[in-house]
Amino acid sequence: MIFVLAEQKKGVIQAGTFEVLEAVRQLRESYSVACAALLFGSVDEAEAQKLAQGGVDQIYCAKEGLDSFSDEVYARVASKLVQEIKPKVVLTSATFQGRSLAPRVAVASQAGMAADCIELKVDAEGNLQCVRPVFGGSILGDVAFSESPIQFASIRRKVYPQVALDSSKQAEIKPVAVVAEDLESRAKVVDSVEEATGEIKLTEADVIVSGGRGMKGPENFKMIQDLADVLGGAMGASRAAVDAGWIPYKHQVGQTGLTVKPRVYFACGISGAIQHLIGMQTSDVIIAINKDPEAPMIKLANYALIGDLFEIVPLLTEHFKSKS
């Protein structure tokens, strides 16, 4: 059996879970096996049935006292269920919750785990085979699970599309019994703050326009923001620009910043150091704007515009503005 640790926030099942279900759908094309999922917290019946519509055969709901994520409590409840239903494979999305929870459950289940996978397969015996980026994404590693009766993997966000829902499907919903001592936790969440910035999040953005040291100063980032805005995208940066104090850290792309995979990535005045490349090299289309034709970013770019970004970027913004 494949067992999915699903994720909901405020009663809504999260996109990452439907990406995991797409990976499950693809696995089941060559390997026929049942799929169960565990949902924590209060989720109404119609929402829970979306898991069934995405291919889940059996839905476990653990409700009482489980509305918000607690590392210890969720891990305890999930570990007990893993022990009970003995799945061969346990999957989750590599979100904050998935990265905090699944490794803990894997230890409690005496099982191996591969984190942040970008490709899943199964062999003839149903053993999981995963591909995961290592060394910041500059190298891909193939993971094998020979000695592990239970096999855990988390799947990196936005690698698989969300599964198509089939509204005719329904599954049985089984409540999971939770006792008071399951809910004990030594670490308590005293406040939860959503940083609703109105900005499009970098990791979700379809288009990203990034600026580097070539921007020369903080005032010029308005030019980057303007182009991002007309394209409905988000603004990124290299570490050089962040370290210079021109733009906040949350915009940093790269090894010590965010890993992004937009459809289109503009690199403006960014040379393309390995630490930056590993954060964005899997973007579908890369557009480099740089006055140096030898910059490493040019080699990676589908489109390379050689020249002064201070002339080029405003022309692009003007063009896309007139089109929209």
């Binding site: 005496q110 193939d142 670490a187 406040d191 609703a196 990676l300 489109y303 692009l316 063009h319």
Partner: protein, 260 residues
């Protein structure tokens, strides 16, 4: 108060190669202290700034060559160091690496807080901090960006979530992992550098940790079967000349290729 900081020796980025049979080699790479672990050390020092009698011990599992990165961690500050080294510890998966670390935390006995980086830049597993907490059966606060308050028995910290942050309070003992936003590591002082040379590094092997044959690469649940180097070089379209022409040709190509 006793703080243990977990650090790892890693090859510098871009210096690891993959041979034709898919095996990794970092033999010619320069090795460094995992950059995220500098933040873990910095976090320990920030706690010590507030609780001056706090003691900081650096701990690492790795080969004997790890002494250098232990000393570089100690140069920021630190009172003691433990190296977990044994031929059986080579190429372990995260379950067993975190088991070895957990046995060491238990042997050390008095730790109130264990601090980790959020990931190591070589294997990028993200798993050691939660798995170490799980083996110890300790609470965890992961992806900490700010410690708001710390006393002799509890800590209150902001941890980064997917869309903001949680404020989490935990009693000791607790494991935390930190991210870059906790603040840039201070520069090693002259005193720190002198101290780093003097600190005695204790070495514990498998037997000292009471571990048996269950800890071995062959017994690992997860094995890395082979590797591929991603060397993307694309034959992209290059536009050169005066800016207006460059932009015009580029936009035409975009349109032809139906990109935007």
């Amino acid at each position: 108060m006793e703080i243990l900081v977990c650090v790892k020796r890693v090859p510098n980025t871009g210096q690891t190669s993959v041979d034709s049979s898919g095996q990794l080699s970092s033999a010619n790479a320069q090795h460094i202290l995992n950059p995220y672990d500098e933040y873990a050390v910095e976090q320990a020092l920030q706690i010590k700034d507030q609780i001056p009698d706090a003691k900081i011990t650096i701990i690492t599992m790795g080969s004997a060559d790890s002494e250098e990165v232990i000393r570089s961690a100690l140069s920021f500050g630190g009172d003691g160091a433990i190296l977990l080294s044994d031929p059986a510890f080579e190429n372990l998966d995260t379950f067993h690496t975190s088991l070895v670390l957990a046995k060491a935390v238990e042997k050390f006995g008095k730790a109130d807080v264990v601090i980790c980086g959020n990931k190591a830049i070589d294997a990028d597993t993200w798993q050691i901090p939660p798995q170490l907490a799980a083996h110890l059966n300790w609470p965890q606060i992961l992806f900490v960006k700010k410690v708001e308050a710390v006393s002799g028995e509890s800590i209150k910290a902001q941890r980064t979530t997917d869309d903001g942050y949680d404020l989490v309070e935990s009693q000791f003992p607790v494991l935390i992992s930190v991210i870059k936003e906790i603040g840039e590591p201070r520069l090693p002082s002259l005193k720190g550098k002198m101290n780093a040379k003097k600190v005695q590094i204790e070495t514990w092997d498998k037997a000292a940790l009471g571990l048996g044959d269950e800890v071995a690469a062959e017994k690992s649940f997860v094995k890395m079967a082979k590797y591929d180097k991603l060397e993307k070089s694309i034959d992209g379209k290059v536009f050169e000349g005066e800016a207006p022409q460059v932009v015009e040709q580029f936009l035409k190509a975009l349109e032809d290729d139906k990109v935007l």
